[in-house]
């Protein structure tokens, strides 16, 4: 029962994230989706993972997302909110340029990233099929071990040390990349 409640919330919220026009609401729906996922982890008797999900994703990463969306006033599509703003700014005689308001769907968008995205999606689909057909190999974890912080810590720094560190390096590279892109002299 509880599973269906959380599952429905997670799926509906995730769909609405991309169906929403206002980026602030998208961020909030994504948080709701993470919250529902966290509930699913609790049902799987992995409270540690559930709480970490909230701390890391909902508590840290999404706050930064919200921050960025709010600070940059990210180009959002026409919404009630925009109309409010536009009406306000029209009164002051300073309308927002139409270019800024329009999203990525505008004509004349570079085709290369879209092709790359399509390729990536196809690759992921193949991978998904592979995972689904493979089946039966999961369950390597002894039951109850997922909730034990000690087990997770030991596995993370022994068996999975390589994956753990590669992930850290990847995040670091992304951070450096972001700084380089942001500070580029134009």
């Amino acid at each position: 029962m509880a599973f269906y409640v959380f599952a429905v919330i997670a799926v509906v919220a995730s769909v609405l994230v991309i169906a929403q026009r206002n980026p602030i609401y998208s961020v909030l729906l994504l948080i709701a989706s993470f919250g529902a996922l966290s509930g699913l982890y609790v049902l799987l008797e992995a409270p540690f993972v559930a709480v970490i999900q909230i701390i890391v994703y909902a508590g840290a990463i999404m706050v930064l997302f919200l921050f960025v969306v709010m600070l940059l006033n990210a180009p959002h599509e026409e919404t009630d909110y925009d109309e409010r703003i536009h009406a306000y700014e029209a009164e002051r005689g300073a309308g927002v340029p139409a270019e800024r308001v329009r999203g990525a769907g505008a004509p004349g968008v570079n085709k290369v990233p879209m092709r790359f995205g399509g390729f990536l999606a196809a690759a992921l689909a193949v991978e998904l099929v592979w995972v689904l057909t493979k089946g039966g190999e999961s369950g390597a974890f002894p039951s109850g071990a997922i909730s034990s912080v000690k087990t997770i810590g030991q596995l993370l720094f022994t068996d999975y040390a390589f994956a753990f560190e590669v992930t850290s390096v990847l995040i670091l590279v992304a951070m450096v990349g972001a700084v380089v892109l942001a500070r580029r002299e134009s």
């Binding site: 602030i24 540690f48 709480v51 508590g59 930064l64 919200l66 921050f67 306000y88």
Partner: protein, 341 residues
């Protein structure tokens, strides 16, 4: 309905009502202590020595007009105070405040004086603290007012910065306590060293306690770290546009957050309900005394220290508090390994 279940439900309601009450009591205490520190009388007209002042305040807030700016985002504007208050109450759910009791044999088995015994309680406290930022950010954004927005942004920047130190201070205790459960950590602090020093973690983690209290004050947006509502610069910060009960929700959230931070500090550093003279079944009295002392400290700080400047706050958080917290954690871990505590 078994007696234990009834007792558990009763306990949950009791904690909820007491938290509501604690906010009212804290408003009175705050005003009285402030008056005392400033050589004034404070409220004294409503009831004996003004003890009914909080009730008068509540009635006043209830009958005020509920206003919403025309350009505000209606849904988020209504949601923000709800998030703030919910997060404030949610964190207390995992805080134990007394030993297991049967209420003098009334219950067939012991009842833990705690709403929910979660084995990752410390992390839950931390997670809820990190979620409470949303109430303030959304309040600031949805009001569509420059003061609110700046207040909300400042607050979120401040909370994100101090959350790290807060978390690292918690980590030091859980290394010593060797558990993530608050009940286990409190029970590890029973007894004394040399017969008279209580085995409180504050003596093993003095720096951790200081970091926790500093970050805790910053997390709850209290003076001297109350930038989100710096009157001179931001009118009333993120709740500038709020009135009536939705304003009261933020007010409530602030005081309940203070109580929660104090209660967690008591459990983690001051031995929870353990103390001399009283039997274990009356340990909750010690708990109340300790929480009260920390809350008094909170109020005392507010009326003693001037507000920092915003850049000073950020510099202090990132360049002093965080490195000290990291070093404290490393030293603690090394100490635990070396002495095999």
């Amino acid at each position: 309905m078994t007696p234990l279940l009834v007792a558990q439900i009763g306990l949950t309601l009791f904690v909820f009502v007491m938290l509501l009450n604690s906010a009212a009591v804290m408003v009175y205490v705050e005003r009285k202590v402030a008056a005392f520190l400033q050589q004034r009388l404070g409220p004294y007209r409503v009831g004996w020595q003004g003890v009914l002042q909080p009730l008068a305040d509540i009635v006043k807030l209830m009958f005020k007009e509920e206003l919403r700016p025309k350009a505000a985002d209606a849904f988020l504007f209504a949601l923000a105070p709800i998030i703030a208050a919910t997060c404030a109450f949610a964190a207390f759910a995992v805080v134990p405040f007394g030993a297991e009791t049967t209420f003098g044999g009334w219950l067939p088995e012991g009842l833990r004086l705690q709403v929910a015994d979660v084995n990752v309680a410390i992390l839950v406290v931390f997670a809820v603290a990190s979620m409470s930022v949303y109430g303030i950010v959304l309040a600031g954004w949805s009001s569509n007012s420059k003061y609110s927005l700046l207040g909300g942004l400042r607050s979120s920047a401040q909370m994100i910065s101090y959350e790290l130190s807060y978390g690292l201070a918690l980590a030091g205790v859980l290394i010593i306590g060797n558990s993530l459960s608050l009940t286990d950590i409190v029970n590890r602090q029973a007894g004394t060293w040399l017969g008279f020093i209580p085995k409180w973690f504050v003596f093993l983690q003095p720096i951790g306690f200081l970091i926790y209290m500093t970050a805790g004050i910053a997390e709850t947006n209290r003076a001297p770290f109350d930038f989100p509502e710096a009157e001179q610069e931001l009118v009333a910060g993120y709740h500038t546009e709020y009135s009536s009960m939705s304003f009261a929700m933020f007010f409530l959230a602030e005081y309940v957050n203070m109580v929660t931070v104090s209660a967690v500090a008591t459990d983690l550093f001051l031995g929870g309900w353990h103390g001399p003279f009283l039997p274990e079944s009356l340990g909750w009295i010690w708990f109340l005394v300790k929480v009260g002392a920390i809350l008094f400290f909170y109020v005392w700080m507010r009326w003693t220290l001037p507000r920092y400047r915003y850049d000073q706050l950020m510099r202090f958080g990132w360049k002093v508090l965080l490195p000290v917290a990291v070093i404290n954690l490393l030293v603690t871990a090394a100490g635990v390994l070396y002495f095999e505590l």
